[in-house]
């Protein structure tokens, strides 16, 4: 267990660079379009922004495979777009249109797709997705699907009870689950230091004996490389991983909130570190993007979003009577529920299922509760003095993320980084 500081350096292909850039641009353009719709009173409820946080949604979700599952939070429009959700669906959700994925029954990013895109819909109560995505991860492993699940949480949401219940359960089950903690420094109007007495929220992971990363959330390459490594490790059965992405919420909690509680200097400092501008500078410097290439993307986005917006605006409101019904699944004609087995069913049915534990609990001897392994007994009264936490190397006091002008390669802060302590 520990906070990992070094990621494997990984070369991105030109196409990957351009994809990351395109999706961040798309994320921002979709949200800019929605601000216009909001100002025209075409958005029914609230509008939440991920301005300045696009690198996190895009970079993490881009690290997943098609078969993997996500559950977005309110500021993860970018993840939905990477997963393949068309912008029109996002527009229509906000506009409560009948052609939206929830047909007007819910708004914002509150929609999902079980069959094709593998997206679980969030609810407004924070943290609930953590146990749910743990369950998807365990279920996928049970069915032999080799999937990884991912969800996001904010600095604010990391104080909910379900965050801790879920992460602890994921850890005990070694679930193939990646949790991305977007520390944008503000939970509505409450600064992170008034919520959590920790410099690094990645430290939450220590309590569950799982690994964590700390990254610069405004550096999309760092985000992608880290997420990629985390996903690979989760898929390989190494258990859940927490990634803390340091960033800043540039707008208010939602459109109605001018966020006057945020110091001007703080905003200015982070505005100078805009993830898209920084990446554009990098791509230009590396000759991966030139003026013509950029123009091409500008035009593509303009055309796409004009069409998507038009479609959304032309969609009708749901008929009033659609409020009724649909509360229950009425059977096969409603949903044919079938598990997708990718392992031999014989492995989980008697007599084979009755043989042995899939993994064991070390330290509990060969008793029944240990899973039947022949392990030494941990008597529970010895290790405190013998083994200081963190392998005896306390993390440097004051070690922290330095966020200055230029984007750095994900250079997480903490000094102690042992992977040895893992179970």
């Amino acid at each position: 267990m520990g906070t990992i500081t070094k990621q494997m350096p990984r070369e991105l292909t030109r196409q990957q660079h351009l994809d990351l850039y395109y999706y961040m641009r798309l994320n921002r353009a979709v949200e800019e379009t929605m601000v216009k719709l909001f100002r025209q009173n075409k958005i029914v409820g609230g509008l939440y922004s991920s301005l300045g946080q696009e690198a996190i949604s895009v970079g993490t979700c881009y690290a997943l495979e098609k078969k993997d599952w996500i559950a977005p939070m309110i500021r993860n429009i970018g993840a939905l777009l990477v997963k393949g959700v068309p912008p029109r669906d996002i527009f229509m959700q906000h506009m409560a249109k009948y052609d939206s994925p929830t047909k007007g029954r819910d708004g914002t990013s509150h929609f999902g797709d079980l069959d094709n895109l593998h997206i679980v819909s969030p609810i407004s109560m924070l943290g609930d997705l953590i146990p749910v995505m743990t369950g998807v991860a365990i279920g996928g492993r049970y069915l032999g699907q080799k999937i990884v699940t991912m969800t996001w949480i904010g600095d604010g949401g990391s104080s909910t009870g379900v965050f801790h219940e879920g992460l602890n359960f994921a850890a005990t089950q070694k679930a193939p689950f990646v949790l991305v903690l977007e520390n944008n420094l503000w939970a509505y109007s409450t600064p992170v230091r008034r919520q959590v007495p920790l410099e690094n929220l990645a430290d939450r992971a220590k309590a569950y004996g799982i690994d964590s990363y700390i990254i610069d959330g405004n550096n999309v390459m760092a985000v992608y490389n880290t997420a990629r490594e985390a996903v690979e490790r989760a898929r390989a059965g190494q258990g859940p991983i927490l990634i803390e992405a340091k960033t800043f919420r540039r707008l208010g909690h939602a459109q109605h909130d001018p966020a006057e509680y945020v110091p001007k200097e703080m905003r200015a400092r982070w505005e100078a570190r805009d993830p898209i501008a920084l990446y554009e500078k990098f791509l230009t410097g590396e000759r991966l993007l030139d003026a013509a290439g950029k123009k091409e993307i500008d035009d593509k986005l303009d055309t796409l979003l004009a069409a998507e917006r038009e479609f959304a605006e032309n969609s009708p409101m749901p008929p009033p009577e659609f409020a009724e019904g649909g509360v229950y699944c009425t059977g096969d004609e409603c949903h044919q529920i079938r598990a997708k087995w990718e392992r031999a069913i014989a492995e989980v049915t008697p007599p084979r299922s009755s043989v042995k534990a899939v993994w064991t609990v070390p330290g509990f001897g060969s008793g029944k509760g240990s899973g039947g392994a022949d392990a030494p007994i941990h008597f529970g009264d010895t290790s405190v003095v013998d083994k200081p936490a963190n392998n005896g190397r306390p993390r440097k006091a004051g070690a922290k993320m330095t966020v200055k002008g230029a984007p750095k390669k994900a250079k997480p802060a903490a000094a102690s980084t042992s992977r040895k302590g893992r179970r």
Partner: protein, 339 residues
């Protein structure tokens, strides 16, 4: 937490004729897991220990560690994870060690699990079950009847059976249902009530009440442990010449309105008996239903015999005062019959 109720059963596996209520639960889970590899069991101490009441005894040995999962004490994580599993087409059964603890997962159940189908077309086939009810001196946190919190939640189904036959058939139906189903098991009945159960596979449809005793002078509607109390009272009433129709609701959501209304149209009087506390109990809902659908058929007020509007007290003397009993039911029913 197991207390005196945690003693193991000696019952062998399936095949018996007369079995306990508890064995009916165990057989239902065992047979469903045998029949369908998508059925899993999760909960606190359900595996190695076989459950605090031994309702899952032998399941770990038979189905293994991937299908019988001992969890941390995290009710929200249990329910949340089960919901996630259900999205993959699995059919998890979650055990709440005592149903009192279900409220620790209230948000997961009422906001996440229950609303998914309506909001985003996501069915969540899962069962949440556990021992409920009082009369065993479990005190205020091991005796609750929290069913009505959930009856008020569209998207859930709520079952509360009273016999081994119903318990087994309804639990199997719950596992096969495509919706989240809450299944309450009255722990007073676990080892006290025995009944014949067929050896072959069967289910009982969710949402159907059953007439336990026919009568013409008044209708008593009840469920779970109070069903037996009501039948006892009906025996005493018969000796006074009052023929009571006793109906076992079995499912509280959806409620079998047809059976209820038809009976009251016949007897013209109705008493609802439940162990849940009075205010906000199902009796009030039934009274409103009868006002809407059978007002002109009523020859008297719809009455309620329920527990007191207090937490469940611990001392046997206090709990006896808190709970309805056959004598109390008899007295109220007799007065109603003569109304």
């Amino acid at each position: 937490m197991a207390g005196a109720n945690g003693a193991p059963t000696n019952g062998s596996a399936a095949g018996g004729k007369e079995i306990t209520f508890l064995e009916a639960i165990r057989q239902a889970m065992f047979e469903e897991m045998e029949r369908d590899p998508t059925v899993l069991l999760m909960g606190e101490d359900v595996g190695v220990y076989g459950g605090a009441f031994k309702t899952s005894e032998g399941l770990l040995e038979r189905f293994g560690w991937e299908r019988v999962i001992d969890t941390p004490i995290s009710e929200s994580a249990i329910i949340g994870a089960a919901c996630g599993m259900s999205y993959l087409g699995l059919r998890p059964i979650c055990e709440m060690q005592f149903i009192d603890f279900i409220v620790c997962a209230f948000n997961q159940i009422t906001n996440f699990v229950a609303k998914g189908h309506y909001l985003w077309n996501a069915p969540a086939p899962m069962v949440i079950r556990g021992p409920s009810g009082g009369g065993v001196h479990g005190g205020p946190f091991h005796s609750a009847n929290p069913e009505m919190y959930f009856v008020h939640t569209p998207g859930l189904k709520v079952i509360y059976p009273s016999t081994p036959y119903d318990a087994k058939g309804l639990l199997k139906a719950a596992v096969r249902d495509n919706n989240p189903v809450l299944f309450f098991e009255h722990k007073f009945l676990y080892r006290r009530i025995k009944g014949d159960v067929p050896t072959e596979d069967y289910t009982i449809p969710i949402g159907r009440a059953v007439v336990r005793r026919e009568g013409k002078h008044l209708t008593i509607l009840s469920y779970a442990a109070m069903m037996h109390t009501s039948l006892e009272a009906a025996d005493a009433l018969a000796k006074e010449g009052i023929e009571t129709e006793v109906i076992d609701l079995r499912t509280l959501l959806p409620l079998d309105e047809e059976t209820i209304v038809n009976s009251v149209k016949k007897t013209n009087k109705c008493l609802v008996v439940h162990e849940d506390t009075k205010t906000g109990g199902i009796a009030g809902e039934i009274a409103a239903l009868l006002c809407e659908k059978a007002f002109r058929d009523l020859d008297g007020p719809v009455l309620r015999m329920t527990s007191l509007d207090t937490p469940v007290p611990y001392a046997p003397t206090l709990e006896a005062c808190f709970l309805p009993n056959a004598k109390k039911v008899f007295t109220v029913a007799k007065a109603l019959a003569r109304y």
